[in-house]
């Protein structure tokens, strides 16, 4: 059962490839246009959900008031999200990252109370070993950071002389996690120095 095909003359080959790539290009452009808005919405929703998870109830829009800053040793810009309730600062969320994960980057969103203690932490991005390093998303691991003030809570793994309990069998992932929290804390401190009183005029 052979299908009659066009002869492989130069013109036929060039024409066939040109036609196919042209149609493919146009349809991809069209689909890209269609999905542009839903894609942006999905990304924003993910960000807002993570913010709601680490911050107390807020009435402003932290995403719109975010401050982006470059930080020494951080490849991407770090983000600083203030959460206000009627012009009172009720919390701040800061992204922090570390390149020292078992499989590359670990990125976190750390929520701070106005007094500097950690409220909650959300994992934004990680490629750790499933079943070992991925337990950093688990409640059992995260709860040791809640309500701790990094000024007095040594953000290093116990093995390195700090106060963080490592995940069983995943010290490297824990180290990266702790480093990312530390970075977020330093960013938080550097930003809060600029605004000594904790209220801000709208």
């Amino acid at each position: 059962m052979t299908v009659k095909k066009k002869a492989s003359s130069l013109f036929n080959m060039v024409f066939a490839l040109f036609a196919i790539t042209l149609i493919a290009g146009i349809s991809l452009g069209y689909v890209n246009e269609l999905t542009l808005e839903p894609k942006a919405r999905a990304r924003l929703e993910r960000k807002v959900n993570a913010l709601k998870n680490v911050l107390p109830a807020f009435t402003n829009s932290p995403v719109d008031e975010a401050v982006r800053l470059s930080w020494e040793g951080a490849p991407d810009s770090l983000e600083f999200y203030p959460a206000m309730q009627d012009s009172t600062l009720v919390g701040v969320a800061v992204t922090g990252g570390s390149e020292k994960g078992y499989n590359g980057t670990v990125r976190l969103l750390v929520g701070f109370n106005p007094d500097g203690s950690i409220r909650n932490i959300a994992v934004l991005e990680q490629k750790e070993t499933p079943g070992l390093g991925t337990k950093m998303k688990g409640e059992a691991f995260l709860k040791q950071f809640r309500e701790k003030d990094p000024a007095t809570f040594d953000l290093r793994v116990r093995k390195d002389g700090g106060q963080v309990d490592a995940l069983a069998g995943a010290t490297i992932s824990t180290r990266a996690f702790a480093e990312a929290v530390q970075q977020a804390y330093e960013v938080y401190r550097s930003q809060m120095e600029g605004r000594p009183n904790q209220t801000r005029k709208p």
Partner: protein, 201 residues
């Protein structure tokens, strides 16, 4: 030339006799890479099924217009376009699955199952036969990936489709979630599959 098989055999061969994963061992990269859970295996299988179906349809429709010497690049452009569409749609509407599958979505392009069916089947057969072939092969691939993902998830994480049936801190065979476990699970499943199908036949 042997007689052409009917639509039913054509459909079933992709699931049993020529199952892409357990018999032909095609598309090993996504098979081993993403099947750390049943949900991931199912998602990858359905994404591949869609691309395979669309590429078989298009290749079957344009087969007489493609000069033989440029057929491979032509097929690859068709496949790559549909993969990119799948990637954009997943990112927009199922972001959770998009994050889980990550790098493996673009890699559907080089899944030899898809190019293999375009070259070996769709470029030689009419549209209905190509659709049935794609459905059979795609469903066979999806079933295999889901079973493999379920096996690894149950053994390695103590859960199935995300429902845990062991406590959070129980000791499970983490090996099965790690890459070596993919090879081990796949080989034993392939043995069991071939034993069973041979017995039936």
């Amino acid at each position: 030339m042997k007689q052409t098989p009917g639509p039913k055999e054509n459909f079933l061969k992709g699931i049993i006799k020529e199952n892409p994963v357990f018999v032909m061992l095609l598309g090993m990269c996504p098979t081993l890479g993403v099947t750390s859970s049943a949900y991931n295996g199912l998602g990858m299988g359905v994404a591949t099924l869609f691309v395979l179906l669309m590429s078989n349809v298009v290749v079957s429709l344009i087969k007489t217009q493609i000069p033989a010497k440029v057929r491979i690049p032509a097929f690859i452009v068709v496949i790559a376009s549909f993969v990119t569409i799948v990637e954009m749609v997943l990112e927009a509407f199922i972001p959770f699955l998009y994050e889980q599958l990550g790098i493996f979505i673009p890699l559907i392009v080089v899944n030899c199952l898809i190019l293999g069916r375009a070259e070996a089947f769709a470029s030689k057969n009419n549209l209905p036969a190509s659709v049935i072939d794609a459905l059979g092969m795609g469903i066979g691939f999806t079933l295999a990936l889901t079973v493999l993902g379920a096996t690894r998830e149950v053994l390695g994480n103590g859960s199935l489709f995300g429902f845990r049936f062991v406590p959070e801190d129980a000791n499970t065979f983490i090996l099965f979630i790690l890459p070596p476990g993919a090879f081990i699970a796949l080989s034993y499943l392939a043995i069991a599959f071939n034993r069973l199908t041979r017995k039936v036949a």
